[in-house]
Symmetry: C2
Subunit: 237 residues, 2 copies
DNA sequence: TCAAAAGTGTTGCATCTACACCCATGG
DNA sequence: CCATGGGTGTAGATGCAACACTTTTGA
């Protein structure tokens, strides 16, 4: 027997979504074959993911998982780390679920983790039937997850913090037209600290990739804010 | 037939070494089964790496590859990216070599890449018999490599640039006792630009994890430099 | 007219850059 | 005594943090 046949590769995705109010993460609810919901039966939530298909690139696999889950194409996706501990899917707490749908639940799985960003205002991602029901959970209230998914999530959040400023990816979480207050609020959530409004706006004005539009907010019960857009062409570094 | 058996996972390592003068990268020379040297026969150099063994963690695999190659234990190792294009080991130029030592040369291989750092002054890593002969090559004169190894190397260098300052890993490339000129020279090489001596030293003095020793250089034909050491305990962030 | 968020400048302090000369050693 | 790199300070410019009031809209 070829021992390598006992080794699989999967992709797991940490999908962050921002709804203008809070940052959420998409989790799937584990579900037994007979369809019963499983919180009560000790089953947990997990990050969405799937085994990599034989001729599928890793990034294609991540895009497929996101597409199956949210029906959105073109989600921003970034690989950040592979997790390969031989025991990572062999803990007792995880066996029960694996047994319900994997041929060889003891097979070693190496996973390549991606984080993904989506604006929950722009799109309304619907939970599909993927592996059970899905749920948007506040990113600072993530429950204990299956496998090593808590470690993966923590790593994703650290990576997002490192990347959001220099790689100009915060805009992926915002609608195409956004206000500076929304942008600031998003950063305050990511870094978990208050920012000074005047200093923040001073910095934004120095970035020529954030361009003001000839358009204002409507339908708000206060002074309507100027709208801005991200111009990827103008990224100067 | 289980299609997954056609999928393997390897680890490739970009080992950077600094000898006080230049930054080198360890490459292996491809070698045919009959032991002939192969540059003339169109064979290339490659990054060291190996297939992950069935019950081996990724980091263990990387450490093993480094150990087999350099006979050094405890080399600094950091995973930075997985490369999983299904075609990455299937280019014509690479088939010849793979045929000489892999059972299924067409098998898809996903590789997890690590970079590693070693001081060539502290240790004298000897090339072992690993997969052919090895060679330290100037990091700015890397030749065309096998597979996608040039892309992996480029990614490693970018990652090293991002990590060297904030993660305090430059010291892994230096002897335990080093001078500020050595430290500066190393940074100049990594970032490919000249730095101002006085400003550089001013910055270093503010870092309390770089501590002066009661010791000076000897055997140099100029004013002997103060020696410094890195104190990982004192990393304040 | 009230509530709610938008929008706007200045000042002091810390940090960064640019720059040139004397020192200690070995040969 | 000469060649070689080691070692040091200052001034001007720039960037960052702290801080409070006026404006516009819808209800």
């Amino acid at each position: 027997m070829n021992l390598n046949s006992q080794l699989g590769v999967s992709v797991d995705c940490v999908l962050f979504g921002y709804n203008g109010d809070a940052i959420k993460v998409l989790l799937i609810q584990q579900k037994t074959q007979n369809g019963g919901t499983l919180q009560e039966s000790g089953l947990q939530m997990a990050l969405p993911g799937d085994l990599v298909m034989p001729e599928e690139a890793l990034s294609e696999c991540a895009a497929r998982v996101m597409q199956e889950l949210t029906s959105i194409e073109g989600v921003f996706l970034k690989q950040f780390q592979a997790f390969g501990d031989p025991e990572r899917v062999r803990k007792k707490k995880d066996q029960r679920w694996l047994e319900t749908f994997r041929e060889s639940p003891n097979k070693r799985i190496i996973t390549v983790a991606y984080y993904a960003l989506v604006s929950l205002q722009e799109y309304k991602p619907e939970a599909s039937s993927f592996a059970g029901s899905t749920q948007w959970v506040d990113f600072d209230k993530i429950p204990p997850l299956a496998f090593d998914h808590n470690a993966i999530f923590n790593h994703a959040l650290l990576t997002l913090r490192e990347h959001i400023e220099p790689h100009h990816i915060g805009f992926e979480l915002l609608p195409k037209k956004f206000t500076l207050s929304q942008l600031q609020h998003l950063h305050e959530l990511v870094f978990d600290k208050k920012l000074d409004k005047r200093n923040f706006r001073k910095n934004v004005k120095r970035m020529n990739h954030i361009v003001p539009l000839d358009e204002k907010q409507t339908g708000v019960l206060h002074k309507p804010a100027q709208l801005f857009a991200f111009n990827p062409e103008a990224v100067s570094e």
